[in-house]
Symmetry: C2
Subunit: 431 residues, 2 copies
């Protein structure tokens, strides 16, 4: 049996209801992006007044589409949504994405229509994403079931292992782009909006069971199904996946805004803190923290303990790192005396206690860094190494030798957790 | 009378003692960078064994240089520093930068030599920067008295109003590059190292009195002259300049590392907290926070009170912004009823209370944003506006109309504090 979210995230046949010939319109964008990104499945634009849409043969109604549709995008005004959902159910569409807004997030009348949609889909066995959402994407097959310009207009990083799920579409779009800029490879992206059917918890659980996903990033305004969320977090924990969550609505005004956005109930904040802690999910407080963590987790190296070896080309950064290690309850044990003596022989003016400051001499002698690292890595005394290199690996003068040394170290210590801090252009970081 | 720091930061004649023909060596880099950046002053390389260095006529000793030298860079091994400093004093050099390390930060013997250097320079009336520092730069005249590759290899942003001063050279180099990447325009950069003479406090005070500087960024490991630091912060406060400080050495291991780095005494952390608070200096805790603040402060718009109007294309971001405003004790008062009605007429499905969520409709109607903003800006009810636009100003489809609308708003409200959050390419942000 195919999981409902596989139909939504890896469809073979898609329909776009309300498809527009103008690529900049909300109804025109998904088709534009699918064509641009070379989506390999069948695409059926539905538009009663056109023979073709953006050059693709169009159909007057969903009933006219010749194949069974795995996923239909519904991009019609709110007033037409009920009839469209009914038509999809009749046509045996298996899942649908509802872009349209103007439902429970606006008023009671909207809420009643939303319930009607929900009932029609549930009775017809059609899974629903939204309404009031920006859709989905699966970067590995060029599936852009979204009108969000952000994710669709940036370059895709192949082979991503991160799955993003977000109640807010535009915020989710921002997460996508910030993560992409931070060199996070993103596999799946799902925006759930008002969640009449598929909710954040179901998507987290799907990611937990999906072998392509190693890192799960979620943005949550409110959780309706507490038990479902517990089940999802438990599944992710069992599968040893990294879960990074932004839960907003901590403040009174924030919680109020959540109710008029995706009609969410923000809930008691301390309950979420406890829930996330219980299942080892990390609660981020800024966008930057969220994407930094996703970046770090995607490589799959995790320390087994708290003993850190700090190495630095900047004594100042060594002090700052030691301060932060202390705040995070990490240990920075001094190097054994014999190792300090060996390092002292390599770098006469260096601090060798831990943090190890190999000073600006590393600029003149490219072998300092790999020798240093080889000594401390081989000792087995540390659970992780943090190495601060600032711009040296990117400098015209030191780039080649520095990167060569680092590659040698990685080859000699393939399983060691080594965090490198450098300020370099993208192409250097990529090596 | 010319201020000593003017000689150091805006020299007309410079000597490089220990100048190397190899541009990648520490003694070769300053000359390489000066030539590359078109420094207009006179440059005198000093090297006893060469006629020219990197194509520039060289002199056997500082005594042979034909003009009075405003600033000499001393790039010689530690063992030669005492004699070199003495020769500079004899030759009436007015200020000198000491790159060399191996002094008080290493051991007592080094400390004694450092004291000797200090005495020779003080008696001869020559100002000293360092030792154990990376030098200085003044981007407005192409003066790169540094061997730091980072600042010298990035593009310079013209017209910067930020002055950076840092005890750690490599950390300071990182600040420079992170700030530059964040679109902070940097005018001056000074690294003070072991501070035998010029210290962070003197540079802060210089920046406070310098009309080209509006934002002061400082990295501090320890303060030897508390009264001098108070005077400097007081001067900056009187001149209404933004002061952003990173003070490290909070932890025991961090403080220990500071003593072996620039021989600093970190001191009691709470004392620094109180000192910075007293003079309105902001104490940053991360590099990101430091450069974000420098970026925001350089435009010179500051709110007169705490009432914020939050506007957003993402309801999710609205909630997050409201949470953060609450944490920072900012007010997010509801819009008056008549204004809510007007906005409701513009955007049927929007939240109009505050945060104002103009929803994805802004994608279809480029006039929504400027109309919205014009209404709330004209009301005079708010001390600041924060507008979250994510990628819309950068999208192929919306870029032109969106930027045009924003320019109109800025022209109509030239003095309003408006913070824009957008995720776009550099060229778009620049407009």
């Amino acid at each position: 049996m195919i999981h409902a979210l596989d139909l939504l995230l890896t469809p073979r046949t898609v329909a776009i209801i309300g498809a527009s010939d103008a690529p900049e319109r909300i109804g025109g964008r998904p088709l534009h992006y699918l064509l641009k990104h070379g989506f390999k499945g069948d695409i059926y634009p539905v538009n009663p007044s056109r023979k073709t849409v953006q050059g693709v043969k169009a159909y007057a109604s969903i009933a006219d589409v010749p194949k069974a549709v795995d996923c239909a995008i519904i991009a019609v005004p709110a007033a037409l949504v009920v009839d469209t959902v009914r038509a999809c159910v009749t046509a045996n569409v298996r899942s649908a994405i509802l872009f349209s807004s103007g439902f429970a997030e606006v008023d009671e009348e909207g809420g009643a229509i939303q319930t009607e949609i929900q009932t029609i889909a549930a009775q017809g066995g059609m899974r629903l994403l939204g309404p009031n959402c920006l859709g989905v994407l699966n970067s590995s097959i060029g599936w852009f079931g979204t009108f969000a310009n952000g994710p669709a207009e940036v370059d895709i990083r192949a082979g991503g292992v991160t799955g993003i799920v977000t109640q807010s579409g535009a915020y989710g779009s921002h997460i996508y782009m910030a993560a992409q800029a931070r060199r996070v490879g993103i596999r799946y992206w799902v925006t759930t909006g008002n969640e009449v059917d598929i909710d954040v918890a179901e998507v987290i659980e799907f990611y937990a069971r999906n072998n392509d996903v190693k890192v799960i990033v979620a943005y949550i305004e409110g959780v309706k199904d507490g038990a479902g969320m517990r089940r999802a977090l438990e599944a992710a924990r069992r599968a040893r996946k990294s879960v990074i969550i932004m839960k907003v609505g901590r403040s009174k005004i924030g919680a109020q805004a959540a109710s008029t956005h995706t009609a969410s109930v923000a809930g008691k904040d301390s309950v979420y803190d406890a829930l996330f802690r219980q299942y080892g999910a990390f609660r981020a407080t800024t966008m930057g923290e969220m994407v930094d963590l996703a970046y770090a987790c995607q490589f799959g190296f995790f320390p087994q303990g708290r003993r850190m070896c700090l190495q630095t080309i900047s004594g100042g950064a060594g002090i700052h790192m030691a301060d932060v290690a202390d705040e995070e309850a990490l240990e920075v044990p001094p190097l054994p005396d014999d190792m300090q003596s060996k390092l002292k022989a390599l770098i006469p003016h260096a601090s060798v206690r831990n943090p190890v400051d190999f000073t600006a001499n590393a600029v003149n002698d490219p072998e300092l860094l790999p020798r240093n690292l080889d000594l401390t890595l081989s000792s087995g005394l540390f659970d992780g190494h943090v190495v601060y290199l600032t711009s040296v690996p990117g400098s015209l003068f030191t780039r080649a030798s520095c990167l060569e040394g680092l590659r040698r170290i990685r080859a000699a210590h393939p399983d060691a957790m080594i965090v490198m801090s450098m300020l370099v252009h993208d192409d250097v970081a990529a090596e």
